[in-house]
C-alpha cells in the first residue's frame, strides 16, 4: 500500500510536467531485448515460445516496450509519456525479487535535444524534491565527449572503433588500453601464411558466400587489416590521455573550464561551452551536482547525455533515478531512427 501511494505521488509529480500516462504490453518479442542488450542480459529473461515458434518474454524493463509502442503508432509527433508497472527478470540471489517495480518517463521524437534533456532532468529533480531524501547527488556525463576525444586522437581506425564500441565494458576497455600501449594486435606470422590463400581467393568469384560473408567482404577486410598501420607510436600517450579523461570529476559549473584546460594541455582541438550541459544552476542546498566523464558506463544504449541521481540512505548513496539520451535504440532494434530521452525511477529503493 505504501509503495502504491508513493508510486502515485511520483506519477502525479511527473504528470504535472506535461507527461501523458500510457499502458505498456507485458509481453514482447525476445529478439528486441537481444538486439538491445545482448545474450548476457537475455539469460535473465522469462521467455517462452508461441505456437508459431516465435520467442516471447515478459518485459524485463519498460523502456523497450515504450519505444516499440511509439514505433508501432507510426507517428513522428513528439510525445511526452510516462508509465509505471512491473518488470520481470530472473535472479540468482535469493534475497532479490524477480519483480522490479519501475516508473519511467520519456520524450520521444524530440527535435530540440537540449531543451528535452533539460526537461527530463528537471522532472527528475521535481521527483527528488517531493521525496523523503535529505542528501543527494546528481551526476551528469556525456558519451559524445568521449567519442569526440577518440576521433581527435592519432590512432588507427580499427582501434578508434574498438574503443568506442567497448566504452561500456570497463574491464575489457581497460584491457584494450593495455593492448593499445603495447601494440599487441596483429600477428605478422598469420598475415604471411594467409597471403597465399588471399591470392587464390581473389581469382575466384567474389560473390561466393562463406557462412554469411562474401569472398569480397573477407578479402576487403583482410586488405584493410594489413594496410592499417600495425604499430601506433602514440599508443602509450593516447592511452594515458584516455585514462586521465575518464577520471575527470568536478562540480558541473566548473566542467567547461576543467575540460577545456584538459584538452588544451593535451593539444586536442575541442572546445566545450556552457551550453553543452543541460543544467547550470542549482537551487537545492542538499543537492550536489557534478560532472563525471565516465558516468553511466554500464548502460550500453545511451548515445550522449547520461545522468543519475543518488540519494543518501543510512550513510550510503544509492541510485534513485537514472536516465539519458538513447537516439540509437530504435535503429539498434531494426526500426527507423527516433530520438529519445528518458529516465527511470528505482522504486525498489522504497522496499
Amino acid at each position: 500500500m505504501k509503495s502504491k501511494n508513493l508510486s502515485e505521488k511520483i506519477l502525479r509529480s511527473i504528470k504535472s510536467k506535461g507527461f501523458k500516462v500510457i499502458e505498456l504490453d507485458p509481453v514482447l518479442e525476445t529478439k528486441y531485448i537481444l538486439q538491445r542488450s545482448g545474450e548476457n542480459f537475455k539469460k535473465f529473461l522469462f521467455s517462452f515460445y508461441d505456437l508459431n515458434g516465435k520467442e516471447l518474454c515478459l518485459r524485463p524493463d519498460l523502456t523497450v516496450s515504450s519505444v516499440l509502442r511509439f514505433i508501432q503508432n507510426k507517428t513522428n509527433k513528439k510525445e511526452k509519456v510516462c508509465y509505471s508497472g512491473e518488470a520481470f527478470r530472473k535472479t540468482y540471489q535469493k534475497k532479490d525479487s524477480f519483480i522490479k517495480n519501475q516508473i519511467g518517463f520519456e520524450i520521444l521524437g524530440s527535435n530540440n535535444h537540449q531543451k528535452d534533456d533539460k526537461a527530463i532532468i528537471d522532472t527528475s529533480l521535481n521527483i527528488l524534491r517531493n521525496g523523503p531524501f535529505k542528501k543527494s547527488v546528481l551526476k551528469i556525463g556525456n558519451v559524445e565527449l568521449f567519442n569526440l576525444l577518440i576521433e581527435k586522437l592519432d590512432i588507427p581506425t580499427r582501434w578508434r572503433n574498438r574503443l568506442k564500441r567497448h566504452y561500456w565494458n570497463e574491464s575489457y576497455f581497460n584491457e584494450l588500453l593495455k593492448r593499445l600501449e603495447t601494440n599487441s594486435d596483429i600477428d605478422p606470422v598469420f598475415i604471411e601464411i594467409d597471403k597465399s590463400r588471399y591470392l587464390k581467393m581473389r581469382k575466384d568469384n567474389q560473390n561466393k558466400m562463406v557462412a554469411g560473408r562474401t569472398y569480397k567482404e573477407i578479402l576487403d577486410r583482410f586488405n584493410m587489416k594489413i594496410n592499417d598501420p600495425r604499430k601506433t607510436p602514440t599508443g602509450k600517450s593516447n592511452s594515458k590521455i584516455i585514462k586521465e579523461f575518464l577520471k575527470i570529476k568536478c562540480p558541473l559549473e566548473k566542467a567547461p573550464k576543467v575540460l577545456n584546460e584538459f584538452f588544451k594541455k593535451n593539444k586536442i582541438n575541442i572546445i566545450v561551452g556552457k551550453g553543452f550541459f543541460p543544467l547550470s544552476k542549482n537551487n537545492n542546498k542538499n543537492l550536489r551536482i557534478e560532472f563525471s566523464a565516465a558516468n553511466g558506463r554500464e548502460v550500453e544504449f545511451y548515445s550522449s547525455m547520461i545522468f543519475s541521481i543518488e540519494v543518501k540512505i543510512r550513510s550510503k548513496f544509492k541510485n534513485f533515478i537514472s536516465g539519458g539520451r538513447y537516439d540509437q535504440l530504435t535503429t539498434n532494434l531494426g526500426f527507423r531512427k527516433v530520438s529519445a530521452v528518458g529516465a527511470a525511477v528505482n522504486m525498489n529503493l522504497y522496499d
Binding site: 537481444l34 538486439q35 545482448g38 545474450e39 548476457n40 539469460k43 540468482y92 580499427r158 572503433n161 574498438r162 564500441r165 567497448h166 565494458n169 575489457y172 584491457e175 584494450l176 594486435d185 600477428d187 598469420f190 594467409d194 590463400r197 588471399y198 581467393m201 562463406v210 557462412a211 554469411g212 560473408r213 569472398y215 567482404e217 573477407i218 578479402l219 577486410r221 583482410f222 587489416k225 531494426g334
Partner: protein
Amino acid sequence: MTKNIINIGLPSKGRLKHNTINIFKKKKLNIYSERGERDLFGYIKKLPNVKVIYLHARECIEQLSLGNIDIGFSGYDLFKESEINVQNKILISKKYNFGNANLVLAIPDLWIDVQTLLDLDEVADEFKKKKKRLLRVSTKYPNLTRQFLYSKGVTQFQLVQSLGSTEVSPFTGTAEIISDITSTGTTLKANNLRVLKDGEILKSQACMMVSKLSSKKKGIKKLLNLLSK
C-alpha cells in the same frame, strides 16, 4: 531412492562409459547387469549397498544436483556448463586422465581475415551494422560460450542451440561460427573449420563428482576413498 543405497551415475555410452567402468575394474569391483547390456541399472557384487545407474553424461550432473544420485562420473565441461545453482550443489572429487578435450571457438577456414577474438569482434560489429543482424554462434554449450565471448569483449552475437553435428551449422545457414568440444581437431578440419588463435574456452577431462546433499550419507566417504586411490 532408498536411504541406505548409494546411487552411482555412470555415462551410458561411448569411451567415457568404457573408461569409467575400467576405474571400477581396477579396484576389482565388477559391475554387472541383470538384464544384459541394454539394462540401464547395474550392481557390484562386493558392494551390495551400491546401485549403478547409466545416464547421459549431462543427466549425471542434473541428478547429482538433485541428490538423486550420490556419486557421478561426467565431463568437467558439462559440469562448468551447468547453471551456477547446479554447480553449487556438486563437489568435484577427482579429475582423471581420460576424456581430455577442449571446448573451442571455431570459424570457417576461409575467413582468412579472422585470426583472433579482436577480429571476431569487428566481424560481429559488421554483421550488426551492415547486415542488420547478429552473428550467430551454434553450440551445445551456451553458458560457457556466452561467458567466454563477453570476457573477451565480443558482445554482439546470438546463440543458437545445437543438438548435434554442430560443425555443419556454418554451412547450412544455421549459424556463422561454432563452439564445440574437440580432442584432436580432426573433425573440425574435415569440416573446413579452424580454431581461433585465442579461441580455447575450456580444457576438459573426466571427473568423479559427489552431490553435496549426499556428503553425509553412510558409506559415501569410504567409497569415495576407495575409488580415488
